[in-house]
């Protein structure tokens, strides 16, 4: 397709840096969000679309290491950024992903990728969050199934495990 219509010609081809890979977007519409391009053009459907207006956090990805709601970022604005989606957090299960499974933090799972990205961001920048900091950090991610109890437990468990591992490494 050469564009949506005569008044909407396709922009020039561009590339995004996703999970360490250069991903080419040969044809598009200029109005496409980062979320749409990740999901529909580049094959990263792990990032979810639930509210279309930045309220629910399901579409959270890391852009240059900081979380953004990708439904509110124009794809063309992300061309120079390093993007990390849930698919790019690790080759194997990360400690956060494993903790979500162990704690029972997953039910329908629609909010899960966004929450896992948000939890990684919290724990990577704030290694020892208290309970309120955890609640605050994930308060931009809506979950309708779990009531958050097991999610809070999962994040706290990762915090404790990382602090314990750190303590073992630094002790003689």
């Amino acid at each position: 397709m050469s564009g949506l219509s005569n008044t909407d010609p396709a922009p020039d081809p561009y590339s995004l840096h996703v999970n360490g890979r250069e991903e080419s977007v040969p044809t598009s519409w200029l109005g496409e969000s980062l979320l749409y391009v990740l999901r529909e053009r580049l094959g990263y459907p792990g990032t979810k679309n639930a509210c279309d207006q930045g309220e629910c956090g399901s579409c959270t990805v890391l852009m240059d290491g900081r979380p953004v709601v990708s439904c509110c970022v124009m794809a063309a604005d992300a061309v120079d950024a390093e993007l990390t989606t849930v698919e790019g957090l690790g080759e194997d299960l990360t400690d956060v992903q494993q903790a979500f499974l162990d704690a029972g933090a997953v039910q329908c799972g629609f909010c899960t990728p966004g929450l896992i990205v948000a939890a990684h961001d919290l724990l990577d920048h704030t290694p020892d969050p208290d309970e309120l900091q955890i609640r605050e950090a994930i308060s931009g991610n809506l979950c309708r199934c779990t009531g958050y109890g097991r999610i809070l437990e999962a994040v706290a468990n990762v915090r404790d495990q990382r602090l314990s591992d750190e303590g073992e490494r630094s002790s003689p």
Partner: protein
């Protein structure tokens, strides 16, 4: 401390039977892992909105901007002429039934002559790009003659009909005992209103329809009941059901909102019309228009009691606003009426329940299904009565609590477990949280980090409530589920079982449970899931807290049939008869067939070497009766109970509420997967708390004012209180594994517990 359940299961009757062998890991009673867990945390799990097909088009619906209007004409010429637009469909393009509906087929696939609610579908398009589809529906010109909407549910009862089927979906005049002849020493009355709640599942409606080239279609869809969708879609497409095959695509939550057809017919019509795969995916705004909500209710009550506090009579009028189309309103009002007085002994009752049609958005199933609305009212009444009697409200409830052998308002005697006193006691026995302190962080205060409450005038309140509802379908419905279990050897020669069932996994964990059941019943470690689709018989809906009992029971029956065949095969080889009186000479234990009175055993590998075993069974629950003209009858199979105690902090000046803690006791029969049970309890409480303090679909003059997550608020992690839970495990007679469904009770009494706590904190009459 992070909210932590105590998981202190208090078994008041015998534990499940102990077996000599050890069940495989992940059997019943274990917190077994979800089979869909890993793909859900890595992003690999395919929800319906994640599906893609080559040459796929995007579908979109045009919806009415008016609550009530006559359609004078529709001009699709501009949309049809747009490059990249492949189909524009109206009512005249529906080849089969023009209307659909789960119980009453009164809802048009597309409105043609009139629209009856804000958001009613009028047309659908398919285009190359979602933005083009949006532009195409905006290019369709509909000439509406706007009419005054019928928006008042009470007025609807006698108003001129807005649909050929009339305005009253159902009226039940329940009369129990001799309500005209008796009165109480103490009488309290009140009128209560519950607003419209949205299910707000995170994954919006979506589906992918692929034409098969032979006139049929395959639909990959997020739904709660594949077979009832199949039946309705096939009728509208004018196709035999076998040409409309449905497969469950990943479901992003449901809570009742996916029980009715939404885009199913539209997307299949578009696929058949264009001959190409078509995907539809609602935006959040469209999702608010595209599914039914919880009925708003207006409920007027009068409770009568003796001076000692024994309930004598309950009178009530319930009016539930069903909106423009029937959906499941007739069943919702039955529940509201049957459970109008709560889990108490009430010898005399006169309850008039109405579900009515208006030009408001259609309402139907949501978690709790009619029991939520009346619990809000009857529990406020119980508090009011306690005050009038100068009696402790917990004591009043304990005094009147139902137990096994008692009679419900419908005349039905409870034969199963009814641990009402136990759930109340368990909820009240949890320690109260620490009192608010001056140095509490602002996040803990009402208003949170907005710092609107400075702590000076914050009042703490404690309230409680009790509720119950039926499990599974009622009123004579032949409720059943179908499951198949295939046992064979894998490539390495080890036994592997495959379990198939069309029960929709919507996040609640049925797939996990199905695997647990097979592991326990057959002693086989390797168990996998077959497809969830319409190639097997119906499993009924994932609703009414019914799948553990109904589909769990079907899986159990299929396992038992596989076991019988294993024993037959072993009996031939071992020359031990298994028919008739000597049947018990062989048994399946620990994954092998053993001779009960001897020491010979047979490995499953020997018994499966020549051929697999494949058995399919249907599981029906015991029959129920319809309600008679007085709302009397043995209409229900089983009941589940829960109590909640809420602790709230309220800034009375600013009207801000912080829910601090919810303590609960819940009747679960038996916890087959304790981690899943806790997940259901915490999640259900979140929805109950949301209804109490922040959730309402605002509708004025029939128009929805807040169809977004910016304006319709659901609890975040900062809003959600700590939850402490006690599971009451009294195995239910007749229930597979003794388990009761656990999904709905958490949502029923948590809401009135919060409002009771707010009343206690403020003295306000809410």
């Amino acid at each position: 401390m992070i909210s932590h359940d105590t998981l202190s299961a208090s078994s008041t009757t015998t534990a499940p039977p102990q077996t000599e062998h050890k069940d495989p890991a992940g059997s019943l009673g274990d917190s077994a892992d979800r089979p869909d867990g890993t793909p859900k945390v890595t992003g690999d799990f395919a929800f319906s909105s994640d599906l893609h097909a080559a040459e796929m088009l995007w579908g979109r619906t045009l919806r009415s901007p008016h609550a009530s209007a006559r359609i004078r004409g529709i001009d699709t010429s501009k949309a049809t002429a747009m490059a990249g637009v492949h189909a524009v469909l109206l009512a005249a393009d529906v080849p089969g039934s023009a209307t659909y509906g789960m119980e009453h087929k009164d809802q048009p696939v597309f409105a043609s002559d009139v629209v009856r609610y804000h958001g009613e579908p009028v047309a659908a398009v398919a285009a190359d790009h979602p933005e083009l589809a949006l532009r195409a529906i905006e290019a369709i010109e509909v000439d509406y003659q706007v009419l005054d909407p019928l928006a008042d549910s009470q007025a609807a009862i006698d108003a001129p009909p807005i649909h050929p089927d009339g305005n009253v979906f159902r009226h039940i005049g329940l009369r129990h005992g001799d309500p005209d002849a008796v009165d109480g020493d103490v009488v309290v009355e009140g009128t209560y209103e519950v607003g419209m709640q949205d299910q707000a599942f995170l994954g919006p409606e979506s589906g992918l329809a692929i034409p098969d080239g032979g006139g049929g279609v395959d639909l990959y869809i997020s739904t709660q009941w594949l077979h009832v969708d199949q039946e309705q879609v096939a009728a509208c497409l004018n196709l035999p059901p076998e040409q409309v095959r449905l497969s469950l695509a990943g479901v992003g939550g449901a809570f009742g909102g996916r029980e009715d057809v939404s885009l199913q017919v539209h997307v299949c019509l578009l696929a058949l019309k264009t001959g190409r795969p078509v995907k539809m995916q609602y935006s959040r705004e469209e999702s608010f228009y595209g599914h039914v909500h919880r009925h708003p209710a207006t409920m007027t009550y009068r409770h009568h009691a003796t001076a000692d506090g024994d309930l004598v009579k309950v009178e009530a009028q319930l009016v539930l606003d069903g909106g423009a189309y029937a959906s499941s309103s007739t069943a919702v009002i039955a529940n509201a009426t049957c459970f109008a007085a709560g889990p108490y002994r009430v010898p005399h009752a006169a309850i008039d329940g109405y579900a009515v049609r208006t030009n408001n958005p259609p309402c139907g199933a949501m978690r709790g299904f009619g029991a939520v609305q009346v619990c809000f009212a009857h529990e406020a009444q119980m508090d009011k009565l306690a005050e009038a009697l100068d009696m402790d409200p917990v004591e009043l409830r304990l005094r009147n609590a139902l137990s096994t052998g008692d009679t419900l308002l419908t005349g039905q005697i409870i034969t199963g477990t009814a641990p009402v006193r136990e759930v109340i006691q368990a909820a009240m026995d949890h320690p109260l949280p620490p009192e608010p302190a001056d140095d509490d962080p602002l996040e803990r205060l009402p208003g949170g980090t907005g710092m609107t409450a400075m702590g000076r005038d914050v009042q703490r309140g404690v309230g409680m409530a009790v509720g119950f509802k039926n499990l599974m379908y009622s009123e004579g419905f032949d409720d059943f589920s179908t499951a198949g279990v295939r046992l064979e050897l894998d490539n390495g020669g080890r036994p592997i079982a495959t379990v198939r069932c069309a029960a929709a996994e919507v996040g609640q964990g049925f797939h996990t449970l199905a695997l647990q059941i097979v592991r326990s019943e057959l002693g086989v470690q390797q168990v996998v899931l077959g497809p969830t689709d319409t190639s097997i018989g119906s499993a009924g809906s994932t609703s009414a807290s019914r799948q553990t009992w109904m589909s769990g029971g079907a899986v159990q029956l299929a396992c038992r049939a596989v076991r019988e065949e294993l024993l037959h095969r072993a009996s031939d080889i071992l020359d031990v008869p298994v028919d008739g009186a000597r049947r018990e000479l062989l048994d399946l234990r620990g994954g092998e067939v053993v001779e009960v009175d001897g020491d010979r055993t047979m490995e499953l590998t020997e018994l499966l070497r020549d051929s697999a075993i494949d058995e399919i069974r249907e599981h029906h629950h015991p029959p129920t009766d319809p309600l008679d003209d007085n709302g009397q009858g043995n209409a229900h199979v089983s009941f589940a109970f829960a109590a909640h105690r809420a602790v709230v902090d309220v800034d009375g000046d600013l009207g801000l509420v912080k829910v601090v803690q919810i303590a609960t006791g819940q009747d679960v029969g038996r916890a087959l997967n304790p981690r899943s049970v806790i997940g259901q309890i915490e999640g259900g409480i979140a929805q109950g708390v949301g209804l109490a303090v922040m959730e309402e679909v605002m509708v004025s003059d029939g128009l929805v004012r807040n169809p977004s997550f910016t304006d319709y608020l659901i609890p975040t992690a900062l809003d959600m209180p700590d939850v402490v839970a006690t599971l009451i495990e009294q195995p239910e007679p007749g229930a597979p594994f003794g388990a009761k469904g656990v999904g709905e009770p958490p949502t029923i009494s948590s809401t009135p517990a919060v409002t009771a706590a707010i009343r206690a904190a403020t003295g306000a009459a809410i």
